[in-house]
Assembly symmetry: C2
């Protein structure tokens, strides 16, 4: 990757970025469903067919946006982690939750893109899995680095779960007790689920606004983990 590149390469890179930028703008304003290749091209002053020199199709453009969204959420999480480096683990945990929710509320369409209904017939390519793991990894980092109060063991994992947890622990958090890891996983799901419920209006009319339920759930999960 030398700085010396042909004009063509530089133009290509820049245009690719501009296309993604404009697509991102449209995503934020009208959502993934309504994202139109032609509209993107129109806004950029180019023919719609020219766009296919840069992205093989709508799906590939969406995939690029998905990766960006995952990465942005990952950045937000890492930033929250770094900003609370010396703090109490429980506070770090809650800070992470708040950061994720704030980002999702500020970027609802991006959140829906990554944690909502996948596009039909769309299988997430390999490139998306690494960025996707950044939020759960950040959550796990808090748990892994913290001295944990002992907690009641709860129900015993059965069936394939013990091995799944053992494999996960071996890869991500060696030494973490299985039941703690299981709780971390369900906490992650709870975090995402709660944000989704709030964003998609499932709590309107009952727990609305949902900010205080969110904070309560963060603390509840922290308790369950022994943070």
């Amino acid at each position: 990757m030398p700085a010396i590149r042909t004009a063509r390469e530089r133009a290509r890179e820049e245009l690719t970025r501009e296309i993604k930028q404009e697509a991102r703008r449209q995503l934020a304003s009208v959502g993934a469903q309504q994202l139109s290749l032609r509209a993107v091209a129109r806004e950029l002053g180019m023919a719609s067919s020219a766009l296919y020199r840069y992205f093989a199709g709508r799906d590939e453009l969406l995939t690029a946006l998905i990766i960006d969204a995952y990465d942005e959420l990952g950045d937000v999480a890492d930033h929250a982690l770094a900003g609370t480096a010396g703090a109490a683990p429980r506070d770090r945990w809650c800070a992470l939750w708040t950061a994720a929710r704030d980002w999702a509320r500020a970027n609802p369409h991006e959140f829906a893109l990554v944690y909502g209904t996948p596009v039909p017939g769309y299988a997430a390519p390999r490139d998306t899995v690494e960025p996707a793991t950044r939020l759960p990894l950040a959550l796990l980092a808090v748990v892994r680095d913290a001295p944990l109060r002992p907690t009641p063991p709860g129900p015993a994992p059965r069936g394939a779960l013990p091995e799944q947890l053992a494999a996960l622990a071996a890869a991500l958090a060696p030494g973490l007790p299985p039941h703690v890891l299981a709780r971390a996983v369900t906490a992650w799901i709870q975090l995402v689920g709660l944000i989704g419920f709030e964003l998609h209006g499932h709590l309107v009319g009952s727990i609305d606004p949902a900010g205080d339920l969110f904070a309560w759930t963060a603390e509840q999960t922290a308790d369950a983990l022994g943070l």
Copy 2:
């Protein structure tokens, strides 16, 4: 609603049902995103424009499908409830979880329709809220009717949450302690979130298959509620 109706009314009712049926078929096979009014009309052998005599547009047709999906999920929940009428509350709780998951796995597009990303610019009409409450109400029914072991109170609800919980309790489960109600709400979110994660592939490669995590989470939430 007399049995005597004009031929027109009967034809209208029947056609409305047939349209919904065909739309449902397409929903199940290609998903909500790809559901096409023209394709529905084509399959039914009518002009696409004729369809607008029965549904004002794609959104209204989707709304009808949403209501149907909520109702079907509600039926499944009620059936699970009725089928375990005399059983231990904890078993009823787990049966409800299993029933919901089974339905979602059998009808992934329907699940996505109601608990996935809403159609952009689409605000759920009033008609959908009642059917939508049936699953959470079924979950709550188990908790309400059961003798609960005392559980540690956990973090105290703050801000608006106590009043929100009090209002909810007054309407749905008078006498239920606020922290139990809060846990029931988060359990509901966890149930839906976990199903969504499994269906949308967020657990592929880590906890996969997710059945045992699901069962574990059901028991975990039952524990937390004191069931």
